[in-house]
């Protein structure tokens, strides 16, 4: 009881924190030998949201997610799960808590000696539920993940995507308050990844389940996360709603992780860019929200009636928000004309970057 009281008081002290926070991390630190896997991580996960944590391998993601269910212990800092501090709990106290937290894994971790339904029912067996109830719940969950006909099969006969569906069903068996996803789609092909992510999103919507996922793929964040935290060398370098981080990445690491899925200047054009002196100037124009939904380019043409070329780019929709990147080439070496174009675009809330000049435009 005392534990509970202190935890609540702690929550009230923290500005912006509410009882709605399923997870709250405060200044989490963990070292392995000479390297800091976690170097002061503070983070909250709100009820019902999907928070994505992205970083390169070795950034500390796995250590972080394992601190949330006590598989890993931080050296210092606090881990609150539904308001209760758990980082100093003993193994015996952690066991009932872990039943409130489902977890899915990159390599699925299904038991090869058990049938699909027995795998799904295992968390309930651990809870000591009667067999009839376990099997009924397993049947419900296999129906939810679309694998009812595989109930009596063994995991070896399943494809990767089916194995992860079983993993998800198993993680949901004990009706958890939080689902942890540890690179759940990293071992799957792109098509299967999409279907697994769609399933997770469905579960999030239908059951209101809070999901925290770690990944190294921006595509995963883009498809299902509401908020994203970028982690590098054990620190959170950037955090916010997915569309705004995509529209305006502030850190180098975020930009590099985004590189794979945001439009890039075609390589052969990038190779011909000169720092100065050319007949055309290539601009990168990033727009998001209203600026991306309005008739930006035609307005530009009306306001400054001189030719420009759209070289490359596109508009993506992230969380129903348009996020665009356009590569525009402005002919001529007239500096005041270029300045006028940039001023116009900036007035429309676009971010403009001069990438360089091209001598002989194609």
């Amino acid at each position: 009881m005392n534990q509970h009281f202190t935890a609540t008081a702690e929550t009230a002290d923290q500005p912006g924190a509410t009882p709605q926070d399923v997870v709250r991390l405060v200044d989490l630190k963990r070292r392995f030998g000479g390297t800091a896997a976690l170097d002061g991580i503070s983070l909250t996960v709100r009820k019902g949201e999907i928070l994505g944590i992205i970083g390169r391998s070795g950034a500390g993601k796995s250590t972080l997610i394992r601190c949330l269910n006590g598989l890993e212990r931080p050296d210092s800092g606090e881990v609150f799960i539904e308001g209760r501090e758990i980082s100093r709990l003993g193994e015996l106290d952690l066991q009932p808590l872990r039943r409130r937290i489902g977890m899915i894994f990159q390599h699925f971790n299904l038991l090869s000696a058990k049938t699909v339904e027995d795998n799904v029912a295992l968390p309930l067996k651990i809870e000591g539920r009667p067999k009839a109830e376990r099997l009924q719940r397993a049947a419900e969950l296999l129906d939810l993940v679309g694998l009812s006909e595989k109930a009596k099969a063994y995991p070896v006969s399943l494809s990767g995507g089916q194995k992860q569906r079983v993993g998800i069903a198993r993680a949901l068996a004990a009706r958890p308050a939080l689902l942890l996803s540890d690179e759940a789609t990293s071992a799957l092909d792109p098509e299967t990844t999409r279907s697994i992510l769609a399933l997770l999103k469905d579960i999030n919507r239908q059951l209101g389940l809070t999901i925290l996922l770690i990944t190294h793929e921006m595509e995963v964040i883009r498809s299902i996360a509401d908020r994203v935290a970028v982690i590098d060398a054990g620190r959170i370098v950037e955090e916010g709603p997915v569309w705004s981080v995509f529209a305006e990445p502030r850190s180098e690491i975020t930009r590099s992780l985004l590189g794979a899925i945001r439009p890039q200047l075609p390589a052969e054009l990038a190779a011909r860019l000169l720092p100065s002196a050319g007949t055309e100037t290539v601009l990168r124009v990033d727009v998001a929200g209203e600026a991306a939904s309005g008739p930006l380019l035609s307005d530009l043409a009306t306001a400054i009636p001189r030719p420009f070329r759209l070289v490359h780019g596109g508009i993506d929709h992230i969380q129903q928000q348009p996020v665009g990147t356009l590569f525009v080439s402005v002919p001529g070496s007239d500096a005041s004309h270029l300045a006028a174009v940039i001023t116009f675009l900036k007035a429309r809330h676009a971010r403009v970057e001069v990438l360089g000049h091209v001598a002989n435009p194609v």
């Binding site: 598989l71 039943r99 977890m103 894994f105 295992l122 067996k125 651990i126 070896v156 006969s157």
Partner: protein, 218 residues
């Protein structure tokens, strides 16, 4: 072969089967928990305890380094304490079991170590305790290896039981030495070898079939 020799052969088969089965069963009952203890107490195990691990390892290595024929004689006081006599088939079961238990513990340890650590982590993440991990993960996942290792142990025991004649335990090995070798009864020698081959092949075949049925790893 005379009817008397034939009867002797049948009795010897029974003695060998009895020695192998009894000491095999005992080595399974004690060796498997010992193998689990080795895995659980090792670094990163579910009940990490380096000192216990080292102590267990030392005792096991100690027993395994003594040649069986010496163990057979050295354990005579222990045998007398347990079965009341140091001579005969039952007396041989004590040193056979004591030799086979650490042997099987090591074989079980190897199979148990091959269980994917991710599975143990998954069971822990579900809120499972050590006992759950042993019962639901370690033993079922390692079962094919545990059974295959038991087959190997039984075959080794058949071989070791041949030496048990040194303390009057009888058995096929004893028969082959006393009649086949010392009394030049070649037919006895041939019969013993054929029976041993059939026994070993039978055990191996049954073990392999059981492993194939248990193995769901594809």
């Amino acid at each position: 072969m005379s009817p008397i020799l034939f009867e002797l052969l049948l009795r010897s088969i029974w003695e060998t089967v009895l020695m192998t089965a009894a000491s095999g069963l005992i080595s399974l009952v004690f060796g498997l928990p010992l193998g689990l203890a080795l895995i659980a107490t090792e670094r990163g195990g579910i009940a990490e305890s380096p000192w216990v691990n080292r102590a267990l390892g030392a005792v096991i290595n100690g027993f395994r380094s003594v040649p069986f024929i010496i163990l057979l004689v050295a354990l005579i006081p222990v045998t007398r304490l347990i079965v009341g006599t140091s001579i005969g088939t039952w007396a041989a079961i004590v040193p056979l079991s004591i030799a086979a238990t650490p042997y099987y513990a090591r074989i079980a340890e190897v199979s148990l170590r091959e269980v994917d650590r991710g599975l143990i982590e998954a069971a822990r993440a579900m809120g499972g305790n050590r006992w759950t991990i042993i019962r639901e993960v370690l033993v079922p996942e390692a079962l094919p290896g545990i059974v295959a290792g038991f087959t190997v142990t039984l075959v080794t025991l058949i071989g070791a039981s041949a030496m048990a004649g040194a303390i009057g335990a009888g058995g096929l090995g004893d028969l082959a030495i006393r009649y086949g070798y010392q009394r030049f009864e070649t037919s006895v020698m041939i019969a013993v070898v054929i029976v041993l081959i059939i026994l070993v092949c039978g055990i191996q075949w049954a073990g392999d079939r059981l492993v194939a049925r248990l193995d769901r790893r594809g």
